[in-house]
Subunit: 249 residues, 2 copies
Amino acid sequence: MFVPAPDATITNCRNCPLRRKPLFLPFSDSELSFMEQFKVGELVVAPGVTLLEEGQGSAHLFTVLSGLGIRSTMLENGRRQVINFLFPGDFIGLQAGLAGEMRHSVESTTTMVLCVFNRADLWDLFREEPERAYDLTWIAAVEEHFLGETIASLGQRDATERLAWALLRIHERLSAIGLAERGRVPMPWRQQDLADALGLSLVHTNKTIRRLRETGHALWEGGTLFVDRERLATLALADPDRPRRRPLI
Amino acid sequence: MFVPAPDATITNCRNCPLRRKPLFLPFSDSELSFMEQFKVGELVVAPGVTLLEEGQGSAHLFTVLSGLGIRSTMLENGRRQVINFLFPGDFIGLQAGLAGEMRHSVESTTTMVLCVFNRADLWDLFREEPERAYDLTWIAAVEEHFLGETIASLGQRDATERLAWALLRIHERLSAIGLAERGRVPMPWRQQDLADALGLSLVHTNKTIRRLRETGHALWEGGTLFVDRERLATLALADPDRPRRRPLI
DNA sequence: CGACCAGTTGACGGATATCAAGTAGAGTGG
DNA sequence: CCACTCTACTTGATATCCGTCAACTGGTCG
């Protein structure tokens, strides 16, 4: 379930945690070359654009205003892990350690609109606008919580449970920001993306989704997703018949 | 690899991110009953004590001064996931969303010494001591980065790789804070804990560790760990013969 | 001495990865 | 308008990693 930061609605740049640091855009021309369109304070990127690249330093931080994306990393063995999906309201780039190089890539899945900030302005923010800084930390903490949930799913749930959990989570998150229409939300990612997010093979992901479709738990087609919340939640909780790994006290 | 926060050494309470908020301890007597020993500003707990319990609200935040612990969560199906191991320098409790209820448990593995803070003081900190607040956010960001790495390991590495990665990581982290003696670091956790952290069964964890021991990659016995860093790192990087799941462009 | 706990080992089965092949739709160029 | 290509999605067959079961060891604590 998505919990918006206190006093942070997500409609335009004025509501970003860093809003009072209006960005003067110190991108070089070449840095800007991949960008589609641009206006002061906002960055609009087409689908499929790599915003941040693993291994590259970045002088910027972003807030997602609209659109959906992916944060992923490549292992040394060539495998790809999707760390999380990006939704409006997410903050991008803090994880680098506030000052370092990216260890993950960020890519747009749909057209995205982002707020851009100078990393260097961050310290000013803390000094001059504690309220905004607090919001920022709040967002980081919530995100950390979500990552913990993901770890639990990857570690302890089987394929069906993981899919159920992921689809439910995506649906809830998109519904919470008002993107549901008659129970359907946009679902622009590929099966491969979901597979890479859940640590499953593409084939097994496909077959599991088919089963969820056949049983009426979730319908994902044509780029939209419909879910039977209650039944899907039951699935995500796991089979009670399955023996517990360890009673733990 | 552990990256200490700028200007934050980890020896005593004066160096906590929140150090200037000396804690007057608003624990009730009953809250305190489980604690072993107590002095102003520091909390000393015995091994095996549950500091924070899943589902409970907590008015406090902690910084680990010394000792080792575990942060874990229970799934609805009774399985346990260790989210991360706790080392000196870690900050505990922020993930609850800065104001909410715990969704994970924190337990001491060895005797731990902690700094205790009032959650309510956090806002004052942001307003009055931006430098400390910045450090705090920095810590949260680094932690988030580590969780991302964990997600990648759980999703994309097989059992041997995961174990190699985990042992290496623990060894490096403990070495970085000076707890290595002639290449050996304390390793107080059980195989079950490691298994729960890596999403593996206890049996398989045991057998994999045995193989690492037999091949001289890592020696874990008597509560201490020795590793052959280079060879273990090679293992963690994964078998290059294994086909790549997807070339990705 | 018995209970209990962490660690250990072998046998077996199942969930999931891999391999292989095929379908459908969108874009491209002749 | 028709090959041709490319990508996403499908589906069946086979292989294997890893989970589960069961039993045993050694240490500690009462």
